[in-house]
Symmetry: C2
Subunit: 194 residues, 2 copies
DNA sequence: TTATAATAACTAATGTCATTAGTTTTGACA
DNA sequence: TGTCAAAACTAATGACATTAGTTATTATAA
């Protein structure tokens, strides 16, 4: 019975690798155990079953995302903050497609800790849009809009949803600029009709 | 051995109901068979296993979506076409969350029929944006942008990603208007810098 | 250095699911 | 009424998650 000295970080790193290489659905206790050369019941010494493992991956993804946002937003404001935030978001989704999936899953209704961690991430979107002087409802709408835009793009790109052979980075930058232009256009004039 | 006279449409309707009520992941051969009061191997008389069932659901979702787009775009152009298209898209995602999931799944690399059906759906986005006189690359970018926006919103809404208690329909309409304003703003002037 | 306790990893077993092979029997049609 | 395709079945296998209970390693304390 050669003990391998497994700990939670190692387990999560292994699961992360599988997720990012083969997708979150490929993360099973069986696949993780096999990669660690261990029997799957042994994983229960470190993790409370598959749902708990996925939850850990969500936290891990959120922590990485947070780091990126911190770095990206540092010293930026106005349009540049939104651009940097958007690039950080897409960069994460591209480098960690598996963790990105994990982060997207809806938390259990009673999982307040995970909900709070997800809320913190939304907070960075709020910060990125601060420079526009939006307050109250319009600020909430704007945050929802940029989140929709970024998640939609990241999600469609990941699953190969964009067929045409045209540079996706260009689309992305243009899309963000279009959003910024739209926000500005709506600010002076369009607000009354919605 | 009382034969129930199952046919493919009935099977798919049952699977659709489960998907829309409990999510696509709840659609298993076991759950469908149970709802039909049948043993799960019997389903193989109508469907080639679970992946094939999911594929059928994707086609079914695409067909319903197509109907909606046809109806929505009839006689519309310009901004109204984009608004109608967007409402049709969101309406489908809301009424058929399970089919919506099925439609989002990446097709197998060799599944040309499904790829083509998905491409047809993208064609309606192209049609909706026709009124803006975009040609070539800018048209492709714009289609990608609206798809990102719509899918992102539908996806985040479905998984309860929007926490604040503020009317989501308002956000959605405003978001589409912001997009339209952005496209217009980019058309006259902003094109050179991105 | 040695005894003890915590625990990492194990085996065995159960239950769910997808899937395949092979069987029965229904129901349509000749 | 007899025949035959196929709808539904049973039985069996293999992947997976999970639980219970076992073994043995390692850290810690005497």
């Amino acid at each position: 019975m050669p003990r391998i000295g497994l700990d939670l970080p190692t387990l999560l790193q292994t699961a992360t690798d599988i997720a990012d290489e083969s997708g979150l659905e490929s993360v099973t206790l069986a696949s993780v155990a096999q990669k660690l050369q261990i029997r799957s019941p042994s994983l229960y010494n470190h993790v409370n079953g598959l749902p708990d493992l996925r939850r850990h991956l969500a936290f891990r993804g959120l922590a990485l995302l947070k780091e990126r946002f911190e770095r990206a937003l540092e010293g930026k404001d106005g349009d540049d903050a939104v651009r940097a935030f958007s690039q950080a978001y897409l960069g994460f989704a591209r480098e960690h497609p598996g963790l990105y999936e994990a982060v997207q899953r809806a938390p259990e209704p009673d999982d307040d800790a995970l909900k709070q961690a997800m809320g913190e991430i939304v907070g960075y979107a709020v910060r990125a849009l601060e420079g526009y002087g939006l307050r109250g409802d319009p600020a909430i709408h704007a945050v929802r809009a940029i989140r929709s835009l970024l998640h939609g793009f990241a999600s469609l790109e990941r699953q190969g949803g964009f067929g045409m052979p045209l540079d996706l980075d260009v689309t992305f930058r243009l899309m963000v600029e279009t959003f910024l232009a739209g926000v500005k256009a709506m600010k002076d004039g369009g607000g009354e009709q919605g």
